[in-house]
């Protein structure tokens, strides 16, 4: 049952990654690797959060590190820069629920200014959701960029076809 949960999570993440990626016009040859990376990254975060009980920020960092190293490895196969593979793959990990709660609590805060207790409730809700959203998004991008710094030579030449090698 655990395996089915993980696979389903990966599957839905893959569909989400490909769909959101499609808005930004990726090369057709990259689609299956985007799906694969999105699935692996999100499933990794899902496992860490559900079975090991880690918090969302740390789990997201590890998920994005997986995606980053994965894109470094797969990028060479399809001659795509890392960002082309990892940005769409990261999109399903954007913490949408927290972002929504951030906006919702902001509106409710403005609406309940006269009631001190309600006001405080929505204010703390706004701050906690804002902190989670910004931290997770920053860690996602930072984690996926890290392989750039460690393996910069490989990362810079992913789109290079060997001299003399024809397509």
């Amino acid at each position: 049952m655990i395996l089915v949960d993980i696979l389903l999570d990966g599957l839905f993440a893959a569909v989400a990654g490909v769909g959101f990626g499609a808005i930004s016009d990726p090369p057709l040859r990259a689609f299956r690797y985007i799906a694969l990376l999105a699935a692996v990254g999100h499933a990794c975060r899902f496992c860490l959060m559900t079975y090991l009980g880690w918090d969302i920020a740390t789990s997201s960092l590890f998920g994005s590190l997986t995606i980053g190293f994965g894109s470094l490895w797969l990028g060479k196969k399809v001659f795509c820069p890392m960002t082309v593979l990892y940005i769409p793959a990261l999109l399903p990990m954007v913490p949408g629920k927290f972002a929504y709660n951030m906006i919702f609590s902001l509106i409710m805060f403005l609406q309940t200014m006269d009631d001190p207790q309600e006001k405080m409730k929505y204010m703390s809700m706004f701050f906690s959701n804002t902190i989670v959203t910004t931290t997770v998004i920053s860690l996602l991008a930072a984690g996926a960029t890290l392989p750039h710094f460690i393996f910069s030579k490989r990362a810079f030449s992913l789109t290079r076809r060997k001299p003399g090698e024809e397509e």
């Binding site: 999570d9 599957l11 839905f12 993440a13 569909v15 989400a16 990654g17 490909v18 769909g19 959101f20 990626g21 499609a22 808005i23 930004s24 016009d25 990726p26 090369p27 990259a30 999100h42 001659f79 795509c80 820069p81 960002t83 082309v84 940005i87 769409p88 990261l90 999109l91 399903p92 954007v94 949408g96 629920k97 972002a99 929504y100 709660n101 906006i103 919702f104 902001l106 509106i107 409710m108 609406q111 998004i137 920053s138 996602l140 991008a141 930072a142 996926a144 960029t145 750039h148 810079f156 030449s157 789109t159 290079r160 076809r161 060997k162 001299p163 003399g164």
Partner: protein, 255 residues
Amino acid sequence: MERNESLLPVAKFIAEYAAHMMGSGVHTSRVKRSSKRIGKAFNTDIKLNVSQKTIVISATHNETGETYSEVVDIPVLPISFEHNAELSALSWETYDQHLSLEEVRQKYNEIVSAPKMDPMFVLILVGLANASFCRLFGGDWLSMGIVLSATITGMFLRQRMQANHINHYVVFAVSAFVASLCASTSLIFDTTSEIALATSVLYLIPGVPLINGIIDIVEGETLIGCSRLISAFLLIICIAIGMSFTLMLVKNSLI
């Protein structure tokens, strides 16, 4: 390595190339690297100063010492990973295969004018993506169906408005309002309506500028990174405005 191209056409081409790459949503350090690589292939030293709307380019020929500089405007283009990948590959091809400037320009024109993905196909993919996203947040099947139809409605509207060159803040606010209004129909049913409402606008989140902004900051291009983050943040505010109209309408049934 040495090719007898005069400086001016090479510099003009690289200026256009760099501006196109910045417009298609490539992070700054890659634009600089690829432009310098093409320059090196033509024995020219390229230096770029990039800001949100313009690029200052300075090209110096390594032998004659002749220098040319220009300020180019960055065109407003839709984000394209395809151009990102192909134009980066073009820079390596130029460097490795000793192409002449005419060949490079011809390949560049081919890449830039290649047909895009069919908007209908994108529409369906985005709908499915947002429905799966709803599932990831714990929505049930009914919510997924509602999010699918809400997203397709909102995305269709966004594509039509963008084709008519309406101001993109307006586009984002209106699409967010319409999509969340469609999703608010879930309040009638016994379903995970809050999740449906929350996910319905997420297809609008400007993920590429957000992540590019952080990449730029991490790589030391702090100014351009901040500009990208600010412009992404403005779009998020527009989404919030659109969604808050819906929330005001339905908030009594949400609490």
